[in-house]
C-alpha cells in the first residue's frame, strides 16, 4: 500500500521531462518535415515557372484576379497610411524646428525604399495570400487536387506556378501604384492641414538610384514569397472546413511574417551595401 502511494506520487516528476522531450522532439521533427516540404514547393514553383507549361491565358487570368482583388484595397489602405504618416511627421517637425521645406523630399525617399514596398506587401499578403490558400485548400479537401494528380497534372505546376508569376508581377505594379497614391495623399494632407505647398512637398531630389533599387528588390522578393508561402499552406490542408480555415489563417500569418523578416534582412543589406556608400 505504502509502495503504491510512493509510485503514484513519484510518477509525475519522472514523466514530466520525458513528455517535454517527446513534445520538443515531435515539434522539431514536425518543423524539419514542414521545412523540407516548403523547400520542395519552392523549388517546384521556380522550376515550373521557368520551364513548366501552363494553360493558355492562366497567368493573365490570375494577374487579373490579383489586381481585381487588391487594387482598391491597396489604394485605400496606403492612401490612409500616407496621410497619417505625413500628419504625424509634420506634427513633430512643427513642434521642433518648424522648417517644413525638407519634409516632402525625406518623406518620399522613405516611402520609396521603406514604407510603401513593405506595407503594400503586407496588404497583398492579407488579400491575395489568404485567397490563394483558401482556393487551393478548398481544392484539397474536395479532392480536386488528387483528381488533378490522377489526370497526370503536377499541382505545383498547374496551380502554384501561374499564381506565383502573377502575384510577383502584380506586386511590383501595385507597389508603384501604391507609391503614387500614398505620396499623393500625403501631399494633400500636408497641403490641407499644414499649408505645405505641393510644389515644395512633391520633390524627388532625395530619391537616389539606391533607394529605387531597394524598393523594387523588396517588391520582387515579397511578391515571390507571398504566393509560395500561401500556396504551401494551401497544399498542406488537411481535414474538412476546419482544415481550410486553418490553412487560410496560416497563409495570412506566415506570409505577413515572411514579409516582415525579409523586410528587415533586405533593409539591413541595403543599409550596408547601398546607403552607407551614399547610393
Amino acid at each position: 500500500m505504502s509502495d503504491m502511494t510512493y509510485t503514484s506520487g513519484g510518477e509525475p516528476p519522472l514523466r514530466f521531462p520525458k513528455t517535454v522531450l517527446f513534445k520538443v522532439g515531435g515539434a522539431t521533427f514536425g518543423m524539419v518535415d514542414a521545412l523540407l516540404e516548403f523547400l520542395r514547393v519552392l523549388r517546384g514553383t521556380i522550376r515550373f515557372s521557368i520551364w513548366g507549361k501552363r494553360p493558355k491565358g492562366e497567368v493573365l487570368n490570375q494577374m487579373y484576379q490579383v489586381g481585381n482583388r487588391s487594387l482598391l484595397f491597396v489604394c485605400v489602405t496606403l492612401g490612409c497610411l500616407g496621410m497619417v504618416l505625413v500628419y504625424q511627421i509634420l506634427l513633430q517637425v512643427n513642434r521642433i524646428t518648424g522648417d517644413t521645406s525638407q519634409v516632402g523630399a525625406e518623406f518620399i525617399k522613405g516611402m520609396v525604399h521603406a514604407f510603401v514596398p513593405s506595407l503594400t506587401a503586407m496588404m497583398i499578403a492579407t488579400r491575395v495570400g489568404a485567397g490563394i490558400a483558401a482556393e487551393i485548400g478548398s481544392m484539397m479537401v474536395t479532392e480536386q487536387v488528387d483528381a488533378l494528380r490522377m489526370c497526370g497534372v503536377e499541382p505545383i505546376e498547374y496551380l502554384i506556378a501561374p499564381r506565383f508569376i502573377a502575384t510577383l508581377t502584380m506586386t511590383v505594379i501595385l507597389t508603384v501604384i501604391a507609391l503614387a497614391v500614398a505620396v499623393g495623399a500625403g501631399s494633400l494632407m500636408a497641403w490641407g492641414s499644414f499649408g505645405v505647398n505641393p510644389a515644395v512637398f512633391l520633390s524627388f531630389d532625395k530619391v537616389t538610384p539606391g533607394d529605387m533599387i531597394t524598393g523594387i528588390t523588396k517588391a520582387v522578393v515579397f511578391g515571390a514569397a507571398i504566393p509560395v508561402v500561401s500556396g504551401y499552406c494551401g497544399l498542406t490542408t488537411r481535414g474538412g472546413s476546419e482544415g481550410v480555415g486553418s490553412a487560410t489563417t496560416r497563409a495570412v500569418i506566415n506570409s505577413s511574417l515572411a514579409v516582415i523578416v525579409l523586410d528587415f534582412i533586405l533593409s539591413a543589406l541595403a543599409y550596408f551595401f547601398l546607403q552607407s556608400k551614399g547610393l
Partner: protein, 263 residues
C-alpha cells in the same frame, strides 16, 4: 476561364455594388456591436468561456507578436539609420523609433498580425461551427450563442490585443535598441536617453487607445464573417479571407480618424 471585367464593362455598377456590399457588412457589424453591448450591461455572459478564450488567444499570438515586434523595432532602426547619420543626429534615434513605434507602427502591425492569427482563427472556428450546425445545436439546447460564444470572444480579443500591444511596444523598443547597437553602434544609454527625454505618456496612451479600438474592430469583424459563412469548407476559406481584409481595412481607416481625434 477569364471572366469579363465588371470594372470595365459597368464601372458605376461595380463601384456601387462594392459600396453596397461594404454598407451591408458595416450595418451588420454595428448591429453585432449593439447586441454585444446589450449583454454587457448588466453583464450576462459566460465567464469561464472568457478565461478559456483569453488563455487560448494569448497562447496563439504571444510568440508571433513578439517576433513581429522584435523585427519591426529592427526595421525602424535600419530604415532611419541613414537619415540619422546624414544629419549627425544619431542621438535622436531613440526618440524617432519610440515615437513611430508607440504611436503608429506598433499598434498597426501588431493589430494586423493579431487579426491574421487570432481574428482569422476565430472566423474559421465560428464558421466551422455554423457549417457543421453546431450553433443550431446550441440554440436547440437553449444556450444563447451571443452570451456563450460571441461576447466572451469579443471581450477576450479586446483585452488581449491591448495587453499584446503593451508587450509588443516593449519588445519593439528593445529590438530597436539592440539593432541600434549592432548596426550603427549606438550605445544603449544614448538610445534610452533619447527615448525618455522627448517622449511623453501621451505617446503611449495614443497607441494604446488605438489598440483598444483595433481590438474591437477585429473582434466584431471576425465574429460577423464567421457567423455568416455559407457553403461548406469553401465558404469557410472565403469568409476567413473577407474577415482579414475587412479587419485590415477597418484598422487603417480607423487609424486615420483616431490620429486626428487623439491629437
Amino acid at each position: 476561364m477569364a471572366r469579363p471585367s465588371r470594372l470595365l464593362l459597368d464601372p458605376l455598377g461595380a463601384v456601387g455594388g462594392a459600396v453596397m456590399d461594404i454598407a451591408t457588412h458595416l450595418g451588420a457589424v454595428v448591429t453585432l456591436l449593439v447586441r454585444v453591448l446589450r449583454s454587457l450591461v448588466p453583464p450576462r455572459f459566460d465567464l469561464p468561456e472568457l478565461w478559456r478564450n483569453l488563455y487560448k488567444m494569448g497562447n496563439q499570438s504571444v510568440p508571433i507578436v513578439m517576433l513581429t515586434a522584435f523585427f519591426v523595432g529592427g526595421i525602424m532602426v535600419v530604415q532611419s539609420a541613414v537619415f540619422m547619420k546624414r544629419f549627425q543626429a544619431t542621438s535622436l534615434l531613440g526618440w524617432g523609433a519610440g515615437y513611430s513605434v508607440l504611436r503608429e507602427v506598433g499598434p498597426i502591425l501588431i493589430g494586423l498580425m493579431f487579426s491574421g492569427r487570432v481574428g482569422s482563427n476565430n472566423t474559421a472556428e465560428l464558421g466551422t461551427m455554423v457549417v457543421t450546425e453546431q450553433i443550431d445545436g446550441l440554440r436547440a439546447l437553449s444556450i444563447d450563442p451571443m452570451r456563450y460564444l460571441i461576447v466572451p470572444r469579443v471581450l477576450a480579443m479586446v483585452i488581449m490585443l491591448f495587453l499584446l500591444t503593451v508587450l509588443g511596444d516593449l519588445v519593439a523598443l528593445f529590438g530597436a535598441m539592440l539593432f541600434g547597437k549592432l548596426i550603427i553602434g549606438l550605445e544603449f544609454g544614448v538610445f534610452y536617453a533619447g527615448l525618455v527625454s522627448s517622449l511623453g505618456v501621451s505617446d503611449l496612451t495614443h497607441g494604446l487607445v488605438k489598440a483598444l479600438v483595433f481590438g474591437l474592430i477585429i473582434a466584431l469583424t471576425s465574429c460577423h464573417f464567421g457567423l455568416n459563412v455559407k457553403g461548406g469548407a469553401v465558404g469557410v476559406g472565403r469568409s476567413v479571407n473577407s474577415a482579414v481584409v475587412g479587419s485590415a481595412l477597418g484598422i487603417v481607416l480607423s487609424d486615420y480618424f483616431l490620429t486626428y481625434v487623439l491629437t
